[in-house]
Amino acid sequence: MIATIAFGLLIIAQILQSVSLFRTTAKDRISPWLALGSSILLLITVIQRSIAIKFFALTNMYESLLFLAMLASLMAFAITRWKPTSESKALPYSLNILAIIFLALASSPIAPSTIRPPVPALQSGWLVLHVSFTFIGEIFFAVGLVTAILQLTAKTEDNRKKFDRLTYTSIAIGYPIFTAGALVFGAIWAENAWGRWWGWDPKETWALVTWLTYTAYLHFRLVRKNTSKLMPALVILGFAIAMFTFFGVNFLLAGLHSYA
């Protein structure tokens, strides 16, 4: 029920943002607060489920989607408070859409909302760090995705440079967080639970592919600066791979992460 209200707030925010896109003079002051409200409601849902299962509710697809939607709506709010992006309408608009997509998927049959306490392998603090850091990193990658698209479609050189810098900033923040969550904490958890820190499981392999893509972006940017279209393209590809790692691997490829 609370998640449904959160979804409703995001829809209202989306409508307001859509109207605001066509009105150049008036600034949309309400939708960021609706996004924040939605984020708080989703946090309450996560806490409620955590109390019910007596563990941090990040142990299945539904809970992961709620957490991601919470982060996306929180970022949709935060981005309007941060000076370099406060004037951008596309960023909160896109993050809002992302949060709505995550919640829509959470209410679909692919993510049953049944409260199920975690099996022994999932009862680890390292799992919580692994999943939460990975998702926080991915939300910064989502910001990078939007700015990379804006960079590719920018009409002026100034805008291209501005969006390139924003893309780089968001990846530079997300990359260490994602590295810590997906690879380092994941490896420590796997070693603790199964006795092997890396096993070329499909999820692990695709997380590595995501990491390699962003690593390649960061290295290409060192040598090609901000004039190439390859770099925003790599950031877009990186996010597509990150989403495939989250959704595609679960449904298409079998492995140890099939419960996630």
Partner: protein, 372 residues
């Protein structure tokens, strides 16, 4: 004009080479991420009939151990090492306040991980054991891990909450037997089998499978002297040089024999009961018992030794064997323990920490310098 050595050095320290190798490694990882690894030709023929032979021919069924992939990783390691040494030297030449060692730490961390992985792959040992209560295994440090209690806790929904193996670590028995060889799995054959059987015979009677409640099941034996340890999923037993993991959990059915005085004997495969003129040895089931809860009555196969004359006897519950009544099957938990010796994992862990610290340092410094 640059010498060949200079050009090779320049090529090996190039960021462009690093980026190119990252893309290539990524492509290999994508192929390995799509095609299931390490399967038989039959598997590929049934799942990818048109390209099964190509998959095997190109080594895509074991891509992460294939020569091209390993060569790529080797070249990447050389590139990373040369780049790190060069960069480190360049940074050292700068004034202290202008030095940025984040990327160096990150790269050193990656090199340490790669070398740690190679060493780990060459020296790591892994053994899987399935043990019931009272059984034991020999650990790599010559000590014996003996199971004293197994408990399975379940949620109200029937979902598994925890698997716990309680054990003691003790010195091996003084008398040498074939099971005293280092790293051998516990068994119940021979003299140690009798010792285990004494423990097993003190088991409380287990409820029948059908009457088991989902809340919690536990079996225990009297505790011998030794260091008490608990092994759970996500809480392995770490000792110097090796780690014991709670890796799996199974249930096994054991035949329950009752003698004329009503004394109950539960037999694991290999267990023997002494009789006045010989023994009864439980060998195996004629057919595998059906899963838990299913109505089953598989025949149990016993070797009966009577004054030196040995016969194979197949009996179902309700039947008689040489003065004993085969009363029923009981269900016993079996703990799946994995013993892993990986003395290079701490090096890998150090590499992970270095890489993480280096990554954070790199981008914290970069973000401070960004005027966004």
């Amino acid at each position: 004009m640059d010498s060949i050595t200079d050009r090779i050095y320049s090529f090996l320290k190039s960021i462009k080479l690093a980026a190119f190798l990252l893309v290539l490694i990524g492509i290999f990882a994508i192929i390995g991420g799509i095609i299931p690894q390490g399967k038989s030709l039959e598997f590929y023929l049934s799942h990818y009939p048109k390209i099964a032979k190509t998959i095997q021919g190109l080594g895509f069924d074991h891509i992460f151990t294939s020569l091209p992939f390993l060569a790529l990783v080797a070249l990447f390691t050389v590139n990373l090492t040369v780049c790190t040494v060069h960069r480190f030297g360049t940074e050292l030449a700068k004034p202290r306040e202008k030095r940025k060692h984040g990327p160096d730490l990150l790269h050193i961390g990656l090199i340490v991980i790669i070398f740690g992985s190679i060493l780990s792959a060459r020296t790591r040992t892994e053994e899987m054991f399935y043990l019931g209560t009272g059984q034991h295994l020999h650990l790599p440090d010559k000590m014996v891990l003996q199971i004293v209690a197994l408990s399975e806790e379940k949620y109200d929904t029937g979902r598994v909450r925890s698997w716990t193996t309680e054990a003691i670590i003790r010195q091996p028995s003084p008398e040498p037997t074939h099971t005293d060889e280092p790293y051998s799995g516990g068994d119940t054959l021979g003299e140690e089998g009798f010792a285990d059987q004494k423990l097993a015979s003190s088991l409380p009677a287990m409820p029948a499978a059908a009457s088991q409640t989902p809340a919690e099941t536990q079996t225990a034996v009297s505790v011998p002297d030794g260091e008490k340890v608990t092994i759970k999923v996500n809480a392995p037993l770490r000792r110097k040089g090796y780690t014991v993991y709670q890796f799996n959990w199974k249930k096994t059915q054991v035949p329950v024999l009752v003698d004329k005085e009503g004394i109950i004997k539960e037999l694991e495969p290999g267990d023997r009961i002494p009789t006045p003129d010989g023994f009864i040895l439980f060998m195996a089931f004629e057919e595998a018992p059906a899963p838990q809860g299913a109505p089953v009555s598989p025949k149990a196969v016993f070797l009966v030794d009577s004054a030196g004359k040995r016969d194979l006897v197949k009996v179902q519950p309700g039947g008689n064997i040489h003065g004993y009544t085969f009363q029923r099957y009981d269900e016993h938990p079996i703990s799946g323990l994995k013993v892993i010796s990986d003395r290079w994992f701490p090096l890998i862990l150090a590499g992970l920490v270095l890489a993480l610290f280096g990554t954070a340092l790199t981008y914290i410094k970069k973000l401070k310098g960004l005027n966004v």
